[in-house]
Amino acid sequence: MASTTSRRDFLKMTATVGGGLLLGFHWLEAEAEASVFNAALSGTGAEFNSYLSISSDNVITIFSPNPELGQNIMTSFPMIVAEELEADWTKVKVLQAPLDTKRFERQVTGGSGAVPHSWKRLRTAGATAKQMLVQAAAKRWNVSDTECKAEMGVVTHLASGRKLSYGELAADAAALPAPQDVKLKDRKDFKLIGKIVKNVENHNIHTGKPLYGLDYSKPGMLFAMIQRPLAFGKKLKSVDSTAAKSMPGIVDVVKFKNNVAVVGKSTWQVMKARKALKLEYEDDRAIESSADHDRIFSELMDGDKATVRRKDGDVNAAFQSAAKVIKAEYQCPFLPHNPMEPMNFFAHVREDGVELVGPSQTPGSARAETAKLLGIPEDKITLELTRLGGGFGRRLMTDYVVEAAELSSIIKAPVKVIWSREDDMAGGYYRPAVRYRFEAALDDKGNMIGYKLRGVGINAGNPTRENNFPSGAVDNLLIESVDHRSPISTAPFRAPITNFLAFAEQAFLDEVAQAAGKDPVQFRLDLLQRAKSNPVGAIRYNPDRMIGVINLAAEKSGWGQKKDVAQGFSVYFSHASYVAQVAEVEMKNKKPSVKKIYAATDCGEVINLSGARQQVLGGIVDGLGHAMYSYLTFKDGAAEQNNFHKYRLIRMKEVPEIEAHFVDNGIEPTGLGEPSLPPTGGAVANAIFKATGKRIRNQPFINDEVFKVKSV
């Protein structure tokens, strides 16, 4: 019986429990000996094939399927499993799983969606395994499983005090049928979830272990860099690689599409030889400069063509009857993602299959694209995930993976393609540039009776979030967008669209509150009351949760009670979470200086308090830094900033104190990797207004005249 439970049955049962999740132990086969040691731990090289395994000596191995780029998923996913498993966290080993779409779902890092997607599955995985361990113990003692308790990796028979460790029970438990409808823990009994748990990779990071794609190597591997067109809109006309080919360490120079790849024995040799290429380019598509974009923005803003995203009531009538109309334009520049680890990927295309290794936020699409390019089935391709030295959306793109595979297929050798910082910054993908025009109509009591937004973007798709606040709170509303198609490639950037829309909208609402003679916090609360009691049309946000973070941020920051510092307010809903922020600005040498930011976050259940705080702080620093300092401009299709000497990223001295608070409501977790970023720019711009009387409507703020004042 027990020993005949086949692997297939086991999978079938667990599938129904976990909703497709392949939970379970790493049961090699029924005849496997008591040791169910994980392959990677024992070093035998067997395949990964489940979320968790338990060895006879009590090591619990939990596989983390999602790409880790600093969002700390490699710690928080296993915490969720271990919580329900009642594991001893000190005995848990976490391993990064390779891409395996048969065994894992959604191996993607993006959209702040990993924990919300997997929360129930992971809990069920842990709880089911725990239940099986308890049953195995009860059977051995010939008692009922209700008389047994699992805790810290040990099952205890309460009456007799007998104990068996998970390691001693693992093989037996494996043979049992997986129970259905296991009970999940009450949150008041959580021992790990919501606590501070340190990053499981700390030691490896602090001692310089090879973790990242750029660190990967294998015998016989070649190094390559690719010269791509230096400007968007150009194509390769000719290349003379004679000089480059004769340089030391250079194995080959190959041309494919618009690329010239220099292949050699070391990074430096390749970098040097690349400079010896003689290249000619010709115009292929429109060649655009930032000045063209400004003109395009103006034309499209005033043009009569736009896609209507949302329309409520009668805006024209509302604006005609208005006592006051407020109108303002906001603009944000292109930004490169600039993860600290530049793009890279290893590829080895062989006759019998393809090996890919490296950092990707979307390994599934990277493999699919590679299969398409090479015309081979996906199951001929393996993809091993390394740690990602940041992503920010750049590694949602698959270009750098496919390109490595294409090069390997041409040179028929294992190769790691490395991007320089310049390649990354000047030839990659960007956050799109956008200009917004907002208009608000107030009646004579200062109520917002009309609201208009037109967003014009360069390859931005829809630069609005038409069903977000303040939609639902205004009777007459029109939201439109216009997109200009450009040869400059764009991609999602941490908190796509909202990373600049939120700044513009929250700063504009501050202008409206001022015109209405209302306190900015009260103004928002009034609108939310309307959206709550009698919403206009469909809305995506929950007014109560937004009110909750507004009140928490106002309380923690002492909103409106401070005399010596200028405060600015902002609140935003994104990735199903809610964040309100108060920024505090002081004048220093006649220039505004951000002193402190308070953040109140409602992301439902917080998994790891340490990681969660990091995400909030990191998102705010990201939002503040880019709003304040960063921009990328184009001249004749070429990026004018290509490395950190010309492109400013926020550094230590520019970072204010930050206080992160969380709403403790026990709701199922919602996103956290992104939602703290969007509100920051608005809170800071509004505080700068309080301090200086000057509205900043364009990013980066540092280019505004309030920062150009001569200091004393």
Binding site: N199, G389, V655, E657
Partner: protein, 152 residues
């Protein structure tokens, strides 16, 4: 190509490289010491920081020919067991997000604390200002340097 005998982490490594090869790439490509990271290649981010005779330098622009008999320490050799006070503090404060910049941050902090074991908050900021952390872990970096200073 020239042959170099390099004193790194208390060992002697022999390797061949062109004289202008930055130490960074010799460490990474020739010697497999990949803990030292490439971030910009122009001394602008600090990811590649190592110690040469105890001083923090940017290895991405430091030619191998200039190393001579100097003693080089990389993140792999900062301590035998990963328990240098700075590494301990980094763990206790749980600093890393993506972690890519952290080797450079740790090496910068370790060299700094040797010259200034009890720094003020402002001195810490000045010392660490040259190291970019794209993930924005600056608060914890600052806190960890402070904590490390109590352990040294």
């Amino acid at each position: 190509m020239a042959t170099y005998k390099l004193q790194i982490n208390g060992r002697t490594y022999q390797t061949e490289a062109e004289p202008d090869t930055p130490l960074l790439w010799v460490l990474r490509d020739n010697l497999g010491l990949v803990g030292t990271k490439y971030g910009c290649g122009i001394s602008a981010c600090g990811a590649c920081t190592v110690h040469v005779n105890g001083q923090a330098i940017r290895s991405c622009t430091y030619p191998v020919a200039a190393v001579g008999t100097s003693k080089v320490t990389t993140i792999e050799g900062l301590s035998a067991k990963g328990d240098h006070p700075v590494q301990q503090a980094w763990d206790e404060v749980d600093v890393a997000q993506c972690g890519y910049c952290q080797a450079g941050q740790i090496m910068t902090a370790a060299a700094f604390l040797k010259t200034n074991p009890k720094p003020s908050a402002e001195e810490i900021e000045n010392a660490m200002h040259g190291n970019i952390c794209r993930c924005g872990a600056y608060h914890r970096i600052k806190e960890a340097v402070k904590l490390a200073s109590t352990k040294i």
